[in-house]
Amino acid sequence: MKGLLIRNLSKTYFDPYAGAHVTAVRDVSLSVNEGEFVSLVGPSGCGKTTILNMIAGFVPASSGDIVLDGRRISGPGPDRGVVFQSFALFPWKTVLENVAFGPKMRGAGKTERERIAREYLALAGLGNAADRYPNELSGGMQQRVGVARALANEPDILLMDEPFASVDAQTRMTLQEELTRIWQARRPTVIFITHDVNEAIFLAERVIVLSKGRLLAEVDVPLPRPRVWDTLIEDAAFKTLSARVLHLVRSG
């Protein structure tokens, strides 16, 4: 079975400050097909990042199963690429070395991994930045590196945790358009976490609304591609979808 399957996933942890057990994720089941782009949307504290961290293997699940391509997940692994809100680039490595990191860990030789890195840098529109250090780049450029680094490892699924939340609004729109372009070109399986309803709809095939740790609703997004903001922002179907999802998020 290709794709991601989540069955009855729950996460409970002890909050030492509240002195009580808190349930962050409650009995969530969902599936993501191979090559599908799914957004998880919801307000802060709805459990979306906890779900992503469990899929990534960063935190263990309290109960339930996560199965990727038929394998049960326990702990982090290179089959799941992660793009972080904090970018999480290695400051002591150049852009090229950052993107070549995954192939290097897989044992690719220097020429081979640099060829792969340059290919994905070109895909992300970063051909000229290869030899710079992350701190010399703008936030938008840094996150392009983050996306290229995750893709260069050719993961089975790409997990994106509010990746564009810390860049300015104009850059965010550009990055969203670039991400849809890359997705169309490569068709990776993507789970995208966001609290921004419009972003969730713009990018995804399917939007999943979360509230208080529960799965509230699933909304299909039948908008045509390629998607660009200039036309979509006026699009009636987009507006209807946006209003519907926003209502779900706010009612939850």
């Binding site: 990534a56 293997g57 960063f58 702990g75 982090p76 692994g77 290179p78 799941r80 690429g81 992660v82 972080f84 904090s86 999480a88 680039l89 290695f90 400051p91 002591w92 990191f101 995954g102 860990m105 897989r106 250090y133 992350p134 701190n135 010399e136 680094r149 995750a150 490892n153």
Partner: protein
């Protein structure tokens, strides 16, 4: 007024071009005032000699070969002690920083022994090892070790968790993470630890040489006190300061410039 302005602009241009000049100018003023006080003979000359006498004594001690020998002894002792302290301290710090169990077990012990200052070890070391190299090396290693360990632990713990997670999800093993993430991430703090360690080690060495010594800059100064030579005491003090500037400016600052500053981990 225009002359003053012109002088100021000349000074500003030169010091931008050669930052060393900016560092030297306060010292010129300091030496000048020292010379004036000495020349005005407020204090007896034997108690408060001027810069010229110190330079002359420098010349004669170099000529006799005493100063080069003593300097070499001190620098070699510091280098050996600091190398051993660093070689022990960095791995220990990495281990404590990465293993919560080791940290909770050993951290209190570490703080306990840090509180027993280097000099406080001297009485028992003199009984165990006598007035020799072993005692001095122990004191320097001991002094260098703690700042290196404490700062390395701090550095390891300051590496953001997302960098660990990124490396894990890109397929890095624990050993690779140590080398690719933990060590470079902790490096700015490790350099700070080295800087503190070398500074403390240098002071501990001088103290050890005064008590234990048969040679070295500390011994030179203490020996000069016995002979009542204020000139040589002052000379020893100046050499200590100069030598530290050299180590800091030629060894530590370039390391920082090539690593943490370049990566944007520490402000320029």
């Amino acid at each position: 007024m225009t002359t003053l302005l012109r002088l100021w602009s000349f000074y500003a241009r030169r010091t931008t071009r050669w930052p060393g000049v900016a560092a030297a100018i306060p010292f010129i003023a300091l030496i000048a005032s020292w010379a004036i006080v000495a020349e005005s003979a407020i204090f007896p000359r034997a108690f408060f000699p001027g810069p010229l006498e110190v330079v002359r004594s420098f010349g004669s001690l170099v000529y006799k070969g005493i100063l080069p020998d003593y300097l070499e002894d001190s620098v070699v002792r510091l280098a050996v002690g600091a190398a051993a302290g660093t070689a022990l301290g960095i791995p220990l710090g990495l281990w404590l920083g990465m293993s919560p169990r080791a940290y909770s077990a050993l951290w209190p012990v570490l703080l306990f022994f840090q509180a027993i200052g280097d000099i406080a070890w001297l009485p028992i070391l003199l009984i165990w090892f006598g007035f020799g190299l072993a005692t001095m090396t122990f004191v320097i290693v001991y002094t260098v070790l703690f700042p290196v360990v404490l700062n390395t632990v701090l550095g390891v713990r300051s590496v953001p968790i997302d960098l660990h997670r990124a490396a894990l999800s890109l397929g890095a093993s624990r050993a690779r993470i140590l080398w690719e993430v933990v060590v470079p991430g902790a490096l700015p703090n490790i350099v700070t630890g080295l800087r503190n360690g070398l500074g403390y080690g240098w002071r501990a060495l001088i103290a050890a040489e005064i008590i234990v010594g048969t040679s070295g800059i500390g011994f030179l100064m203490f020996d000069a006190r016995r002979a009542g030579s204020v000139v040589e005491i002052l000379l020893g003090m100046i050499i200590l300061g100069l030598l530290w500037s050299v180590v800091d400016g030629w060894v530590l600052v370039p390391i920082e410039r090539a690593t943490g500053q370049r990566w944007g981990l520490i402000a320029r």
